[in-house]
Symmetry: D2
Subunit: 414 residues, 4 copies
């Protein structure tokens, strides 16, 4: 028995590829479609409008197809209110709950469209019937009685359109290769960073310990000092080796200025942690003059907040590390709010964690020596992402250098 449903789509649906993806998905899933109306924008600045009749054998199949195309922004011509079901108990949510994408989302409630706040991928939507607000919420945060959206009915997604102006993010998007002009890219990223800062945008850096091992701590520290980093996400290792570097000039026991292991160097990271434990925290160690340079030092001195998330492989850890990973996620989420750019360097774990929390509108730059890591980060649904296969130890110094050159060239900057 063939079932049908009319849907509509609006926007730059042709050149953003949305129309194509929709047709693809319908066919992949064994459905069929008929185009009822197709008003094509005549010029590149015009939007288009399409109405299609989707057909499939059986209600289940049709529902599944509609569920898929829903994520592309397609919605029934007639939209009904969201279907809300209260959670039976904490964490015990209604079956068939709606799971969010990382795109701007609205729900129809009492006949009105209300935006879903704090949108983030793979969350549920909870509606507050009193305040008439909707919020994206993690599965683990759902409490008994929360009104959870079930099914796609009444939910509308605004799929990101392709930006019309040509930015670095635009032309590079989606490709991951080590064969691109590194210095050119670095100059362009410096330009984007300066632009974001000029517009008052907030920049986050997510970094792994290889930043210290490859000798790029100085470069990142200077970026913090010069105001290009508004929040730092990392783990115990980055902070520990940064402090080890400050105290002993080594990273994992290797002298950063000679590249050679030093006598007793294997003890340095533990000694570094021990010094911070003695002081009580990184901030206190800075205040007591124990730490006098480095990334963490600059964060403290310049009031740049940081979130050090614990991991199962941690030594110590430093007192500043948040050992409960869910608490660390919450701290991370709080700091991510309002970020308009994220620079991820040499860490897959923390970059994926941060990436999971980002709305699709945030620009992200992923730098890693491993192309598979970069590809993995690019695959996670962020469309505003550039992947760069490069060496943190050469990338960051060249970036810091470019930021200095370009900011001096452009007076009235920052």
């Amino acid at each position: 028995m063939v079932e049908t449903q009319e849907i509509e789509l609006r926007g730059h649906i042709i050149d953003s590829g949305i129309m194509m993806q929709l047709m693809d998905r319908v066919m992949d899933l064994g459905g069929n479609f008929e185009i009822l109306v197709f008003e094509v924008g005549k010029k590149k600045t015009d939007t288009s409008y399409a109405r299609l009749r989707i057909a499939a054998t059986g209600k289940e199949k049709l529902k599944a197809i509609l569920s898929e195309v829903h994520r592309l922004g397609a919605r029934p011509v007639e939209v009904m209110d969201v279907h809300l079901v209260p959670a039976e108990a904490d964490h015990v949510v209604p079956k068939g709950f709606y799971t969010t994408s990382n795109h701007p989302t609205q729900v129809k409630y009492n006949g009105e469209w209300i935006p879903v706040e704090a949108i983030e991928m793979d969350f549920l939507i909870v509606v507050d019937p009193v305040k008439k607000t909707a919020k994206a919420e993690a599965l683990g945060k759902i409490r008994k009685g929360n009104l959870v959206v079930v099914g796609e009915q009444g939910v509308s997604v605004t799929y990101p359109e392709r930006p019309r102006e040509q930015s670095t993010f635009e032309f590079m998007h989606g490709t991951v290769s080590s064969e691109r002009p590194s210095e050119t890219l670095i100059a362009q990223i410096a330009k984007e960073i300066i632009e974001v800062r000029k517009n008052g945008g907030k920049i986050a850096v997510v970094g792994g310990p290889a930043i210290i091992h490859t000798g790029a701590a100085k470069a990142l520290a200077s970026m913090v000092r010069n105001g290009y980093v508004n929040v730092l996400f990392a783990g115990n290792a980055l902070a520990t080796h940064d402090i080890e570097n400050c105290l002993y000039g080594t990273s994992l026991g290797m002298d950063i200025t000679t590249g050679k292991p030093v006598m007793g160097g294997h003890k340095h990271h533990l000694y570094a942690i021990s010094e911070i434990m003695r002081a009580g925290s990184i901030r206190k160690a800075v205040e007591k003059g124990v730490i006098k340079s480095g990334i963490m030092y600059e964060c403290i001195k310049n009031n740049v907040p940081y979130v050090l998330a614990g991991s199962i492989r941690d030594d110590g850890p430093l007192p500043d590390v948040i050992q409960d990973v869910m608490a660390a996620q919450d701290a991370m989420r709080k700091q991510i709010e309002g970020c308009s750019m994220v620079l991820m360097v040499a860490t897959l774990l923390h970059s994926i964690a941060v990436g999971n929390c980002l709305p699709s509108s945030v620009k992200t730059i992923c730098v890693d020596i491993n192309p598979a890591h970069v590809t993995k980060l690019m695959d996670r649904g962020t469309t505003q992402a550039i992947g760069i296969v490069s060496d943190a130890g050469t990338f960051l110094p060249l970036l810091a250098q470019q930021l200095e050159i370009q900011s001096q060239a452009a007076p009235g900057k920052k």
Copy 2:
């Protein structure tokens, strides 16, 4: 002012390379040596003995050199008691504390040698003067008043000798390459596993979610069922996708039997977590018949303990996940006790975490598609390690197949 100290070394110090490493380190660090006695074992089963006079300019330098060679098992001819200093406060340890290697270690206390229990790399040594015992302890676990060993004095390390019989672990050690006969290696690993089981040895598996994504869950589940896995270390992702696979036949929304994404598949992992939350735990979900197959199911059914350690990138997480990473480490340590073999598959994070806790005598096998990951795991000081660059999705099924073939060929096995 040249300072000198006589040290001695005993064992298979030539063919195990210890003598060479010692000479190397002394020269690297700018010292000099004179060989006073060198009694070479005449046959390959004989041990050798050497006494050397180490020389360096200045006491500090000599001390540093002695500290380095100490880790190779060299010790002063006359050994004094360990130097113990009480910790001033919790986590506040005496400066210059001794940091452990992962080799068997003894301390001289009241003129007697006592073994250091629970040895693990980068720990401190705490001596109990009443019980006359010594124990390796994490920096973060040191409590006020603990008597902590400071300096190398009175500490003796038994550096691992090269085994004389030729095992797979022996000839493969240290090399990481994707260009080795995969099927041959798999057959040999199967043989080692069967051997360990026959001798009552305990085998741990550390696994990443790629095991599920690559379709190897069935193979690992069969290994659990057949008694080849005594404990499982993993994270939220492996367990979630294993349960997703059981409930929906998918992993990350991809149908494992067709390799194709299924309709609504992106919701499956959240739905899987939600089902376990509803049941209360994985065990309860098994008991209620919610989960009927898979790795986690077999663990529950066969009373194989597992430790699911939380990470900052977790969705959910499952109720069984230990969210506090230090608590997770403790749980891991407890289960590692007594393991004689660890198989690490497709996870860098958890493998390093487990590797950190292993004494040097435990055999480890690291399998990853990424040669850099394998190299990193091999670099962490474990000498009993084989690294294999292969695909979990083909490796584990072939291993499970070999285990079946070989165990049938050898009656009276397991």
Copy 3:
């Protein structure tokens, strides 16, 4: 001064993404467009038709834009004859010569459309005015007087449409990941291979020496013996180590059945080459009974042609190796003719070489342990390609096993 040109497009231009790419390219290049006619196929089996007016400032820019969209199959509404210019001398070709894509191409000559034979990427088109034929030709093969097509005028490209039925090639296309169900993929590839063979299709294998090192020679040899390989492309190394394996049971001196290096093994590959030099060729060595098994042996015995292309790193080389790389390319091209499937295993160099010569319609499967290699092979413009990140040493044995199982299950096969 704004210049304009009307173009048209026909086919599954929406769901194949062609329309979108065209709009993209025009905008990327700073042009503008107006849609004059857009007849959308109502059902998924219908084709669509579009006529657009492309606009740009200046003739040069317009020409450049038209040149780009030309490659997507767009052509002026009124098409004139190709512009032909004779080559001044051997290799000295007219400036602005047309360079081919790997898609089916036609040229308009004397008012008639004639197909371009032997299409291959980055070639020139030479028209024979007597025979009224057109042929794609390498730059290095152009002879004085050849009539070479200059500019896009009169050239029409048939851009490949997305196939409507769902094959493995379809759904997998474009993605490269090590996180997919390996055994499932292998079973599907086996199915495709059996299908191709059933339909009388020709299958080429391109292989690197890692096939031998990882112990997969036996599996590939069985595939040759069972008729699944119609031509083999490789280099000196694959053949040498295969013969070394046959003569001494080793590959690069390592015993394939134990994984251990054997005494004097480092000499084996040279000794193997020496034996073939003594015999005169691989065929003669087989005939004289010097070689009795292996991949090369099966090629000889089953009359499967092979092309062993020389490379700068060759030892020896074997007498069968074509030392002149251009002669080797010609030999390769001759054998590629008529292939409908190519399986590339563990070699970047030879795979790119073969890939360069393939029309876009040939199905290709690339298997490599290195994801960057797979990505690179997928990037080279072939749309009918699947990339698999796996280990040759486990992939090929499992594939050979699947071929056996499936061919027995399907009587009347091959």
Copy 4:
């Protein structure tokens, strides 16, 4: 039946690890040993001497063991003349021929030790009885009647000792990691290069096309111009894209200064090749003013010879490319003569080719973004090698910058 043979070893056999390796190999191969004399150098500058009795069951096994330890420099106490056998025909060499290592080698002929000229790995040794000279020769170059050394008798290898002074090459040797201080390493390599040049040493660069794609052509060109490159080894791709970059400002169609693809860019590399074909050669193109900058331009202008070796994947190729790979090898060998340092950047194929021809005494630096490539290059028996996992596009500009800074700091340089 146990057979025995006395052998002796001399030099820094303990701290260079030679003694250990010898014992290892004997035991690995199932033999036994007794140390008869062991005179240990008392100080680190003294040499040692050992005499051992090697024992094995059966003459064959003993011979095999002796053959292995021979490569470590061990030789019978009584050395007889080499055993020479004439080649029956061209390429048809006596069975059991000796294969060379890349270490300095001598043969005993008529009771006198004569050095083997042009030593290179995996060659044969041919003795000229008239001139009383010995030369390493490729298998494919052996002519009828050549007197070829068979067996190890009368051949003595000088295994490289560990250098006693600490250079970058020394402390870095053998490790491959992306986690080392990049800028520090680059500064040290610059220092070594300047040192080599000051001493009149010859420096070779082996480069892949990624140098151009990543935007590092300018840096390498400046190194050629400033006299830091004495010979260049590359393929068609590096030269083609360098010339494309000079003519059109692009590499593979991507604008190097913006990182964006340009209109018609896909034609540029063919157009570049066509221009050189028109001119006749790169030199002529420089002379005619067609090429005015870039790596190849600087080579021509500064009389730096280059060898462009053909490969099966070549487009064109340029007239300067040597299409016969064996001829290219010969050209390469001729230019390698006298090199004291080789810098390999972003090419596995050409680096292995060059590496194969190098004596073990030549310092080599391998830079690649792919750690597996670096590991592979390091594995090929060269002990004087540093591997660096980095990005050519950032590495070379920083190296060129360091060379400039350091050469200015050191007046009287070059």
